[in-house]
Every structure is written in structure tokens, then in C-alpha cells.
């Protein structure tokens, strides 16, 4: 393993799915980002922007017949694309773990929560049944599950949504993974439980030193949790940068519009929240130029060619505006 290599480096990831009758469609196009140790990065975008697909590609879980994955995904310098199934399986769950959106449907309904955590532990570590259970109970306790011994013997439907998600996280963390991918971990939860889970994720970095790739559509969650943020739009990276900088001065019109659509906490309330006109293009009908151009207030002739990622300060942006010397101004209101 390469000691200097970043924990996760995704380069020019392109995911192509068959769209029937011999046609194909690129769900994700040339997406690149990297993640260092003990870092939380947000992957933001609306539904259909390709964020979950990218995560599944990292896990090697895209099994749709005819799917093609091009580019490179390196974990500690080791290429994951094309890695044989056995090696990938040893990595999955042990080094890279994932938690999913809906903890009700993501746990097998016919096994107890403890059984499912034991199963993951024993798949990767030479543990006895009793040893695995002891570790499970310990993990559940660390995740803030009250009475973990009894909770382990419960079935998923017998636990509340928050407890289920804690069990899910306990399961994901059971083998001390260095990378945790969290796909919308709070979307299906109540607001109060949401805050607790986010708090738990933040503590994971301190207590376990895990890096987290947090996939969400919620800018508020990103602002609270993430060190850096990557904004996806229609399968392409729109902008990338430290969360503070990105929120203070978004460089991509899409990021700016996303942030504008959050209701401000202070100051006068706008009569009507600004919204982005239109809808994101279907992957099959993506324009050849900038994918955001049809909805962009700044769209012009230069947008007819696909912009590449350009550095601006600490950020990187796929937009021609900064290069043309017309960078967007800093935002007046700081949200949250």
C-alpha cells in the first residue's frame, strides 16, 4: 500500500447503463474527487444527479446487467475497478462500509439486529459466536443504544427509526472501516433524531478516526457536518471545495442557486424563495455543453462546450464565469 496516497481517489469515474434497444446512457460522467484520512466530505446533488450511483460504484455494488464502469477508483492507492470479487468482498464491510437511507428496509426483516451485526463481524474476523455477540453489544452501546444487550435480540421492526439507524451504523463500523459511506443517512428520520445521528457521525471521526463520505441533498446537513463538499449536477461535478469557502462564495451558479433556495434564518424573509427554473435534464438528454446551461441565468455562447474543472482559490469549479473574470459575488447572508 502506498502510504502517501489519499484514502480514496476517484478519477474520471464514468458509469454507463444500458437504456434498452442497444442504446446506453452515461449516468455519471468523468466524476473526480478525493478523500483524506479523518475527513468528512459531502457529496451533494438532487435525486438523479448520480451521487448514490458513485457511492455504489466505490462499493462495487453496481450489478445491473450491462453496466460499464470506466475511470479509476483508488483506495489507499489500490485500484478497485476491475478488482476480483473475492478481494473486493474482503474490503467491503471491513475497510469500506456503507450505511443506507432507510434503516427499515435496509435491515433483513427476519433476523435480529444482533444476528446481522454478528454476521458481518464473523465474515471478516475470526470470532466465536459469543465473541462476536460481545463485540456487537459493545458497539451498540457505543452508538448510544440504551440496553444494548436486549436491543441486539430485537428484530428491526421492533426498534424505532433512530435506533435502527444506530444499529445500522454500529454494523457498518463493526470492523473499524477506514472509510464510511453514508447514503442519505438521516433522510428517513425525524428532525430531532436526525440531529442525534449527525452528531454521532461527527464523533466517529474523533473516536474512530474514520473518514466519511456523506451523500445528501440537504445543504443544511452539509454545512453542519462536512469539511469539504462536492456538488454534483446531472452526473457531473459542478463545484468542489472546502465547505466554508463554498458556502461563503459559491463559484458555480448552480451551487449559488441551491444555497439561495434555503430560507434564511435571520433578516427579512423574502416574499418568495428563489427557485431554479426547469428541471435537471435526463441523462440521455444532457446537452453537449455545460449540463446546467439551459437553466442557468448566466448561460451564454461559451457554455456550449463542456467546461472543465478550474481551480479558483481553494475551490474547483466547472464553469467559465471565473475564467471570464465574472466570478459570482460572495453571499450576503450566511446560512445556518
Amino acid at each position: 500500500m502506498d502510504a502517501d496516497a489519499p484514502l480514496l481517489a476517484v478519477d474520471n469515474l464514468t458509469i454507463t447503463l444500458p437504456a434498452g434497444r442497444g442504446r446506453t446512457v452515461d449516468i455519471v460522467e468523468n466524476v473526480s474527487f478525493r478523500l483524506d484520512g479523518a475527513e468528512i466530505m459531502g457529496l451533494v446533488g438532487e435525486s438523479g444527479s448520480g451521487k448514490s450511483m458513485s457511492a455504489l460504484a466505490i462499493m462495487g455494488l453496481i450489478d445491473a446487467p450491462g453496466a460499464r464502469i470506466a475511470g479509476s477508483i483508488r483506495f489507499r492507492g489500490r485500484e478497485l475497478i476491475g478488482l476480483d470479487r473475492r478481494a473486493l468482498r474482503a474490503l467491503r464491510g471491513a475497510e469500506i462500509a456503507m450505511i443506507f437511507q432507510d434503516p427499515m428496509t435496509a435491515l433483513t426483516p427476519v433476523h435480529t439486529v444482533g444476528w446481522q451485526i454478528d454476521e458481518q463481524l464473523r465474515a471478516h474476523q475470526p470470532l466465536s459466536r459469543a465473541g462476536a455477540r460481545a463485540r456487537t453489544v459493545e458497539l451498540l452501546g457505543e452508538m448510544g443504544v440504551p440496553d444494548p444487550r436486549r436491543a441486539a435480540d430485537r428484530y428491526p421492526h421492533q426498534l424505532s427509526g433512530g435506533l435502527r439507524q444506530r444499529a445500522m451504523i454500529a454494523m457498518a463500523l463493526s470492523c473499524n472501516p477506514s472509510l464510511l459511506i453514508a447514503d442519505e443517512p438521516t433522510t428517513a428520520l425525524d428532525v430531532t433524531v436526525q440531529a442525534q445521528i449527525l452528531d454521532l457521525l461527527r464523533r466517529l471521526r474523533q473516536d474512530f478516526g474514520s473518514s466519511i463520505l456523506l451523500i445528501t441533498h440537504d445543504m443544511g446537513v452539509v454545512a453542519e457536518t462536512c469539511d469539504r463538499t462536492t456538488v454534483l449536477y446531472s452526473g457531473n461535478v459542478a463545484e468542489h471545495g472546502p465547505t466554508d469557502a463554498l458556502f461563503r462564495q459559491p463559484a458555480h451558479p448552480y451551487t449559488a442557486a441551491l444555497l439561495d433556495s434555503i430560507p434564511p434564518l435571520r433578516g427579512t424573509r423574502p416574499r418568495r424563495l428563489p427557485s431554479i427554473p426547469g428541471a435537471p435534464p435526463a441523462p440521455s438528454a444532457r446537452p453537449p455543453g455545460c449540463p446546467f446551461q439551459p437553466r442557468c441565468a448566466y448561460g451564454h455562447v461559451a457554455c456550449e462546450t463542456r467546461p472543465s474543472l478550474l481551480p479558483i482559490g481553494a475551490q474547483q469549479v466547472a464553469c467559465v464565469l471565473p475564467a471570464e473574470g465574472r466570478a459570482l459575488p460572495p453571499r450576503a447572508v450566511l446560512s445556518a
Binding site: A97, T105, A106, Q120, A123
Partner: protein, 324 residues
């Protein structure tokens, strides 16, 4: 808990009572089913008919007749057939039951094993040529009339290829009890087992594959794969384990119906004196005591099987256990 069991028992008795009344009425109220005429024979004199009517109690009110019948069926158990020289029907059913149980039990073992294999393999190889071939074979299995398949099996194993090494072990048609030796019992039943199992292999294999394919799109299957488990383990411990719930409920119904006489075509073709054939004989002769006995036996089985299926449900699905 005890309340639930008692309620269940009450329901069972009520269902059995309903079925017995229904059968009693159908075979007494239907024109041409007058049992007196049957017992008396074709050219009986009016005096004989009247005597028989009185002797068998057909001149009494229907409720009394019904109670009398039930008494002789369940309490004294000396109910006699109207046609078959007054043969006692309860021992007759008791003799037929092990034949049917042997036939259906063996076939069930075959069809459950093979259909789980086929369904799992087809689901794992989803979309491949193997998957399509297996599912097509299943459809063919569903499309074959079982009595015809039995005839063809007899033709092959009893006549055409009986002298070849493959089927020289096949004994003549008929049933040999298990007490006469395991091999004697099994060898008489292997061909009927396979014949009866074909339909259900096709049916269950297809149902299981569809369930497994539907399950493979579930979130928990993705979670299981994300845990780094092997494909086989994901398929068996998460996919198959969840799909087994529907499988078991199907199985309970089919098994009960077959044991309750639904396998009569197979029994007829292979010359097995099981409950299905007995029921059929009773029906053909409009032999009310025999019909009554076999139907009650069958109903008891269906009801018991339903209870067993419910029990399995509890074991297999924790959500049912909590009444959800």
C-alpha cells in the same frame, strides 16, 4: 395465548361442523341421490324399499339422521358403507390414509428440494440461458396433465424399458406398507412420487425464482452485499430465508389438499388405494357414509395443516409474531 388457542380450536370445530352439514345436505338434497334406491337395488319392491328406508332411518327427520350419522362416525365409529357389503368406513379410511401420506410425503420432499434448487439457481443466473431454460422446463411441468404423465411413466417403466437396466428394479403397480421393508415401500412409490412432484416443481420453482428476483432488488440485499458477504450467503441467508415465508404458506395449502384427497388422479393411475381413490369410489357409488368419512378426514387435515402453517409463519416471520 391460551385464549388464542381456544379461539382457534372453536373455529376449527365450527368449520368442521359447517363442512359436514354442507356435504350431508348436498348428497341428500340432490335429485337422483336417494340412498334408499341405491341400497335396495334396481327392481326392488315397494315393500323392500320401505323396509330399508325404515331400517336405515331414512324416514326420520334430517337433523336426527345427521346426528345419528355423526354419532356413528365419531363416537361409535361403526358407520357402515351403503353399498360395499356394509363394510365399516372408518377402518377403511384408516387403511387408506398411510398410502396417501406415503405418496404425498415423499413427493413433497422431492418437490421442495428440487424446486428450491431450481428457483435459487435460476434467480442467481437471472437473465441467462440457464435461467430461461429452467423456467421453460417449469412451465412445461405445469402444463402436463398428471394422469397422462402417470400413464406414460407406467408405459416406460412397466413395459417398454422395463427390461433395461434403468427400470428393471421397478416393481408392479400397487402399494407395499413400510413395515414390509423400506426398499419395498420406497421402490413401489418412487415413480408415483416423481410423477406427482413434476407439477409442483414447476410451480414452486417459478414462484421462488420470482420471489428471489424481487427480493434481490430489496435494500436489505444490498446491505448484505455491502457487508462483504459471499453471494451464496447473501442469496441463502437473506434472499431465500425471506422468500421462504411465501413458499411455506403455498406448501401448507397444497400439502393439505393433496393429503386430503387431491392426489386422486395419481392414486388412480398408479393403483394406489389412497384416500383420494376412496373418496372417488364413494362419490361414484354415492356412498354417503364413505363420502362423509373421507370428507371429514380431508377437512380435519386441511384445518390442521392450516394451523401448522400458521405456526411456521410464527417461526419464520418475526413480524407476524408481534401481530403486525
Amino acid at each position: 395465548m391460551i385464549g388464542a388457542v381456544l379461539r382457534r380450536l372453536g373455529q376449527t370445530v365450527l368449520v368442521l361442523f359447517g363442512i359436514s352439514v354442507l356435504v350431508f345436505l348436498v348428497f341428500f338434497a340432490t335429485p337422483g341421490a336417494d340412498p334408499t334406491a341405491r341400497i335396495a337395488g334396481r327392481n326392488a319392491s315397494p315393500e323392500t324399499v320401505a323396509a330399508i328406508r325404515h331400517q336405515y332411518g331414512f324416514d326420520r327427520p334430517l337433523p336426527i339422521q345427521y346426528l345419528h350419522l355423526m354419532d356413528r362416525l365419531f363416537i361409535t365409529r361403526d358407520l357402515a358403507s351403503y353399498v360395499d357389503h356394509g363394510e365399516k368406513v372408518v377402518p377403511e379410511v384408516a387403511r387408506a390414509a398411510p398410502v396417501t401420506l406415503s405418496l404425498v410425503g415423499g413427493a413433497a420432499v422431492i418437490w421442495v428440494t428440487v424446486s428450491i434448487l431450481i428457483g435459487t439457481i435460476a434467480a442467481a443466473a437471472r437473465g441467462s440461458v440457464l435461467d430461461r431454460a429452467l423456467m421453460m422446463a417449469g412451465l412445461v411441468g405445469i402444463s402436463i396433465p398428471v394422469f397422462w404423465l402417470g400413464e406414460v411413466a407406467n408405459l416406460i417403466t412397466q413395459s417398454r424399458f422395463h427390461t433395461s437396466w434403468m427400470f428393471s428394479w421397478v416393481p408392479p403397480l400397487g402399494y407395499v406398507p413400510l413395515q414390509d421393508g423400506l426398499w419395498a415401500w420406497a421402490s413401489h412409490l418412487i415413480i408415483p412420487w416423481c410423477t406427482l412432484a413434476v407439477l409442483f416443481i414447476g410451480l414452486y420453482g417459478r414462484v421462488l425464482r420470482a420471489d428471489l428476483v424481487a427480493a434481490s432488488g430489496e435494500d436489505f440485499m444490498r446491505t448484505a452485499r455491502a457487508k462483504g458477504l459471499s453471494e451464496t450467503r447473501v442469496m441463502l441467508f437473506h434472499g431465500l430465508r425471506t422468500s421462504l415465508i411465501t413458499f411455506v404458506s403455498l406448501f401448507g395449502l397444497d400439502f393439505a389438499q393433496l393429503v386430503g384427497g387431491g392426489a386422486l388422479l395419481t392414486e388412480v393411475v398408479f393403483g394406489l388405494g389412497g384416500v383420494g381413490r376412496l373418496t372417488y369410489q364413494g362419490l361414484v357409488n354415492l356412498d354417503l357414509p364413505l363420502i362423509m368419512a373421507t370428507v371429514m378426514y380431508s377437512a380435519v387435515f386441511v384445518v390442521v395443516a392450516n394451523a401448522v402453517v400458521d405456526l411456521f409463519y410464527l417461526l419464520l416471520d418475526p413480524r407476524v409474531r408481534d401481530g403486525r
